[in-house]
Amino acid sequence: MKLITVAGPPSSGKTSVILKLIECMGLPKGSVGVVKFDCLTSFDNLRYREADIPIQTGFSGKICPDHYFVSNIDDAVQWGMKSGFQMLITESAGLCNRCSPYINGIFSICVIDNLSGANTPRKIGPLLKLADVVVVTKGDIVSQAEREVFAFNIKQVNALAKVIFINGITGQGSFLLSKHLQQARDIHTLRDMKLRFTTPAAVCSYCTGETRIGDSHQMGMMKKMEFKEL
């Protein structure tokens, strides 16, 4: 089974890109499954069901989404194997610009949208920096110049990435993405494989439910801001 990880900020168009991609690959019905890692609620499962695509949704809730991803991803792979998929696609929302649900040797796609601001690619971090392919959506409603500036800013952070513009509504561009996926390799398990980047570190009192503010309530791993005197 091939595993593809797709990540990107909320509402960047991940689900639309995946749906168009699956449509474009033309694999037999039921041979591509999706696992959606979300935070609190999700309505994307409806869109997958509508397209007759097997879908599992998990909610990280109070856990950091990246920690949740890494502790469940191999189970997702086992689910996919058991279901007899040829391909499993995981979709996860990067919420803090620090997320990076990518695994060494596993094909990874970052989806960002052209409306999110020209400098956004330079702020996103590992989510963008470590992806194999960066898909840019909503490029059909901005000028050519803005698309080019956006692609330039992506290259600034991830010089080696392939940048593909996809129209999530018409699917324009998804064909080229499907060609790239041919490089994805077959796997049976992820055991002992490694994440491309560490997950956000956090074992502090607030992780375990503390809500009170002040030094005396802060324990564990903290990072303090430096305030310079004016």
Binding site: S100, N114, L115, A118, R122, G125, P126, K129, L130, D140, I141, V142, S143, Q144, A145, E146, E148, V149, A151, F152, N153, K155, Q156, V157, A159, L160, K162, V163, I164, F165, T170, Q172, G173, F175, L176, K179, H180, Q182, R196, F197, T198
Partner: protein, 340 residues
């Protein structure tokens, strides 16, 4: 220069000198929050003084920073010969929606304008898709698109990196909060344009020539009218974008000299496809492709009769323009105006 050569920039040159010679390196430092490292040192020396913790936040160690630096510099050093040089494009027919073959093989050269006509849903976007991804018989239409007469392998297709085709459509807007000048400068920078200032100036003058109503370099791009926006987009595509192919999806009538706009693009040695149902545009093209039921049914040369009628169409168009301008100025429309 190959990637390894860039390492000498990081070891032998002070950051000060590096920034003088390669201003874009400042972006590399800013992206890693390294803008305030000591500039009199070389990058590799300066990195010794940087807190390793900050680098780790970016998933890098000192060596990783140097490696990324080389990749960055390689990516943003303009190639001497453009890898995307396209002098011709050949479209070899595939199948229409009913599976019947399109009997067609058309070669288009730089500077040529092809109009694409056909009813909504006839397959115009499928054709534009095939061109954009340089179909090699592997898309639903089965068409093949050759560049400079040759087929491309997947690797070459990937290398195009979305730079082959520039697009221009009625739905496009500017979304950045910048003035016209800032916007053009930003685009010039991203294109690694050498004479940025001159190109920006040229672009601005040209956009103003195309636009019905003039605008200033200090105008915010988001405040431009539809026609002005389109004019700026076209001038920008002509002078700054280095994509050899331009796909135009219907340009509106108001506020822009659309024929002049398309001729401008052709003069810049681009291959132009215009999807349109505007007679003026369709007849100003060199050839016209007719699409029906997902297939190209014919390619027409513009006949002499059509060329003759072009003049009459132009007069009609001018009359409409006069009427629009009168409306704008608060004047009355009279029958006499239509007769002239």
């Amino acid at each position: 220069m190959i990637r390894q050569d860039f390492i000498t920039l990081a070891t032998d040159l002070s950051i000060e000198d590096l920034l003088l010679e390669y201003p874009i390196a400042a972006d590399f430092l800013a992206n890693l929050r390294l803008d305030s490292i000591p500039k009199q040192l070389s990058l590799s020396q300066a990195l010794e003084e940087v807190d390793e913790g900050i680098l780790q936040e970016f998933g890098l160690d000192r060596f990783g920073v140097l490696r990324s630096f080389c990749e960055f510099m390689e990516t943003f050093t303009p190639a001497e010969v453009s890898p995307h040089a396209v002098s011709s494009l050949t479209i070899i027919g595939g199948l229409n929606k009913s599976g019947e073959p399109e009997k067609i093989s058309l070669t288009i050269f730089c500077g040529e304008i092809i109009s694409i006509v056909g009813p909504t849903g006839s397959g115009k976007s499928r054709l534009l898709n095939d061109i954009e991804c340089l179909a090699q018989g592997d898309t639903p239409t089965g068409r093949r698109v050759l560049v400079n007469g040759a087929e491309l392998d997947d690797l070459q297709r990937f290398e195009m990196d979305g730079k082959l085709v520039a697009q221009l459509s009625q739905n496009m807007n500017f979304v950045m909060d910048l003035t016209v000048r800032e916007f053009l400068e930003m685009h010039a920078k991203s294109r690694l344009t050498i004479n940025a200032e001159q190109v920006v100036e040229k672009c601005f003058l040209c956009a103003n020539e195309l636009a019905g109503e003039k605008f200033l370099p200090d105008t915010k791009i988001t405040q431009l009218s539809g026609g002005q926006s389109r004019a700026l987009m076209i001038a920008d595509t002509a002078y700054m974008s280095n994509s050899p192919i331009v796909l135009i999806d219907e340009i509106e009538n108001a506020g822009i000299d659309r024929r002049q706009a398309i001729e401008l693009l052709a003069k810049r040695e681009k291959i132009i496809f215009v999807s349109t149902h505007d007679p003026l545009l369709a007849l100003s093209a060199d050839k016209r492709m007719v699409i029906k039921n997902g297939g190209i049914i014919k390619v027409m040369d513009i006949s002499d009769t059509e060329k003759q009628s072009l003049q009459a169409i132009e007069e009609l168009d001018n009359t409409m323009q006069i009427l629009r301008n009168r409306l704008r100025d608060g004047a009355q429309i009279t029958l006499d105006l239509l007769k002239s």
